[in-house]
């Protein structure tokens, strides 16, 4: 399946802003993190199609995954 991965803040360093990724069926967020060499504990906010999810969340074809380290403001 094909998903869109968006990275933000320091996760972009040495990686990318947005990329399409081909994943095997039954992939989870954790598989994307491993692919990108990001540890689950480094992730503060993980959104799939705008919804908060955990790293065990099962992905679907066409999903958009947005990953953020700890950031905030206001």
């Amino acid at each position: 399946m094909r998903v869109t991965v968006k990275l933000f803040a320091t996760f972009r360093d040495g990686r990318f802003k947005v990329e399409e990724k081909n994943l095997s069926e039954d992939s989870r967020v954790l598989d994307v993190l491993q692919l990108l060499n990001i540890l689950p504990e480094e992730v503060a906010i993980c959104l799939v199609n705008g919804r908060d999810v955990k790293e065990q969340h099962l992905l679907n074809d066409g999903d958009t995954i947005a990953l953020f380290p700890p950031v905030g403001g206001g």
């Binding site: 968006k6 933000f8 803040a9 320091t10 972009r12 802003k17 503060a44 906010i45 959104l47 199609n49 705008g50 919804r51 908060d52 958009t64 947005a66 953020f68 380290p69 700890p70 950031v71 905030g72 403001g73 206001g74």
Partner: protein, 597 residues
């Protein structure tokens, strides 16, 4: 006595006289300082029916008990007055260096009363206070005024707070700006200062703020600094990217207002994000007094330099106006600092103006050739200037989006609560924030109870943003704790890393008092209730604890949060009960008695 200087400076502008009086420690113990103590004194001294721009209104400028100490983020001062925008108790705070300097000069607070018959500024050199002629700087912008007043004062270390042309012209969105780039922006406090004919206040102090327990203070400061440095948000995210790092988070969540809240997702938002700001515009960090976070930005754009935009500013002059030209956003931000305007309200009013044009309410002939349309960056910047100088339609816009839209018979196009423009979060997809917006006692505002923190950022713990569970309780606690932070003079951003216990430890170490956590939080609840009582007295009621029609009635139309809707009616019932208020949102005598009000 630690923390407090123990002195209040009163300036009677009508008579041209100044006097000092002792701080009431009895009141200070109950209301702490800053927003709390000034709010209590305002409520006691200013009748609720005064015209906000008349000499009978008073302007309180108050530091907090921790302002100027070595506690982390000790820079804040608070402006409290009756708001000319909406009549509520205005409390607008700012960082920078001015607030701490006021303490060093020996004052916890200054009160401007009456009205001068000619433009003046106030000069404070430790205990020496003078009311001086400001004829030469009246009409000048904040940058020119700051330079001129410093020069006349003769000490480069002096700190200047001033209004710009917007305050002189009584714009209801006028800010008080200090240290060039920091603003007590909201609720129109700059117009109150302008109505009194006061252009600025220069202060230089050589004193110190004492700590009652220096050894204890050393320990609690080290402890809280460690928490701030080790926290991902305050130790890394904010210092690296500034507050505009939120652009992408809020947008990807699908609660990022676009084109005057007609949309909630912007596919091009990254162009005006904190990441882009850091990559292409940032020159250096621009911290406030003794701040270990240093979220302030100093940027370059289009051959110019100045303070970089905060999140709310990047959003409001950006996506909310359909604009992705970051140079233009920097320019509009700089104009607001220079001319003394609040960025959120000005951007929100321009966005409302754009929708009024879009829907045919404002006719092309009213625009004097300046485009007012979503996506037109050049026009947007020019409207900021026209608002400050009340030129043409800019005069109507200077009264804020509610008054503007109402004058065309379409008040529902103002995205405001209690006439004040909403900040950068669509409340329909964030239940607690919807409640916080509706009940904010200064009108549309995100920093009276920042529920974004638990509902989106996951701090101090992650709450489901669409669930109602616990939201009334969380909102009340956040509102009360924020009132404490505003009253002690620390920056709200410290609360990403610190909790109630940390604030209690800091206040006790500085003052020598022995607050429990519950007692300190009760100070916040007391502050919240006296503000509510004032607003009820001026005629607000539960019916005003609401959202603009579009956000009240329609679900989010598109984007990741499509279809989401607030449940404000249910939350309000829970919230009033949680606060010990009756069903009409009025504090009960029992609760007031319990709080010692």
């Amino acid at each position: 006595m630690g923390g407090y200087t123990g002195k209040i400076l009163r300036i009677n502008l009508t008579e041209g006289k100044t006097s000092t009086e002792p701080l009431s420690m009895e009141l200070a113990k109950k209301y702490l300082g800053g927003r709390g103590l000034a709010g209590k004194m305002f409520a006691d001294e200013v009748a609720s029916d005064v015209d906000a721009l008349s000499p009978a209104n008073k302007l309180f400028i108050a530091s907090g008990v921790l302002t100027g100490t070595n506690a982390p983020t000790p820079s804040r001062y608070m402006v409290v007055t009756k708001s000319p925008l909406n009549g509520v108790i205005a409390s607008s705070n700012s960082g920078g260096y001015w607030g701490a300097e006021l303490k060093f000069a020996g004052y916890d607070m200054l009160v401007l009363e009456g009205k001068s018959d000619h433009p003046v500024y106030i000069s404070i050199k430790d205990g020496q206070v003078e009311i001086k002629d400001a004829g030469k700087v009246w009409g000048k912008d904040v940058y020119e005024t700051t330079d001129a007043l410093k020069q006349e004062f003769g000490d480069d270390k002096a700190k200047v707070l001033a209004i710009g042309p917007a305050g002189e012209n009584l714009s209801l969105m006028a800010a008080i700006v200090n240290d060039l780039y920091r603003a007590a922006g909201r609720t129109g406090v700059g117009a109150v200062m302008g109505s009194k004919n006061v252009k600025g206040i220069v202060v230089r102090g050589t004193g110190k703020v004492e700590n009652a327990n220096p050894d204890q203070m050393k320990e609690v400061v080290a402890n809280s600094l460690k928490k701030i440095r080790e926290n991902g948000v305050t130790g890394q995210g904010l210092p690296t990217y500034g507050s505009a790092v939120l652009v992408n988070i809020i947008n990807e969540t699908g609660v990022y207002p676009v084109n005057n809240f007609q949309g909630s997702y912007d596919p091009e938002a990254d162009l005006i994000s904190g990441e882009t700001l850091t990559e292409k515009y940032l020159l250096k960090k621009h911290p406030c007094y003794r701040c270990p976070i240093a979220c302030g930005r100093y940027s370059k754009w289009d051959g110019k330099e100045g303070a970089g935009p905060e999140y709310e500013t990047a959003w409001v002059f950006g996506s909310d106006c359909g604009i992705h030209d970051f140079d233009a956003i920097h320019e509009a931000n700089d104009l607001c600092n220079k001319l003394g305007l609040d960025t959120i309200s000005v951007g929100g009013t321009i966005a409302a103006g754009m929708e009024l044009v879009q829907r045919g309410y404002i006719k092309p002939e009213e625009l004097d050739g300046t485009p007012l349309e979503f996506g037109n960056a050049k026009g947007m910047v020019e409207w900021v200037r026209k608002i400050a100088y009340v030129e043409g339609l800019g005069a109507k816009m200077a009264m804020g989006s509610y008054n503007l839209a109402e004058s065309y018979g379409a008040p529902e196009l103002s995205m405001s609560v209690k006439k004040q423009e909403l900040p950068a979060y669509d409340p329909r997809g964030i239940q607690g924030q919807a409640l916080s917006y509706a009940t904010s006692n200064r009108g549309g505002c995100h920093v009276r109870g920042y529920m974004i923190s638990p509902e989106i950022l996951g701090l101090p713990e992650k709450l489901d943003r669409n669930s109602l569970e616990g939201k009334a309780t969380w909102t009340k606690i956040f509102q009360d704790l924020t009132a404490v932070i505003d009253a002690v003079g620390l920056c709200l951003f410290s609360s990403f890393a610190l909790g109630l216990t940390d604030y209690t430890s800091l206040v006790n170490a500085v003052t020598g008092f022995n607050y429990t956590d519950e007692e300190l939080l009760a100070c916040g609840e007391r502050i919240w209730n006296i503000e509510r009582l004032h607003n009820l007295k001026v005629g607000y009621s539960a019916a005003d604890d609401t959202l603009p029609k579009r956000l009240l009635n329609d679900p989010i139309p598109s984007g990741p949060s499509k279809g989401q809707m607030h449940n404000l009616p249910e939350l309000l019932v829970q919230y009033y009960a949680e606060r010990g208020w009756d069903k009409a949102g009025v504090p009960t005598p029992e609760r007031l008695n319990m709080l010692g009000i």
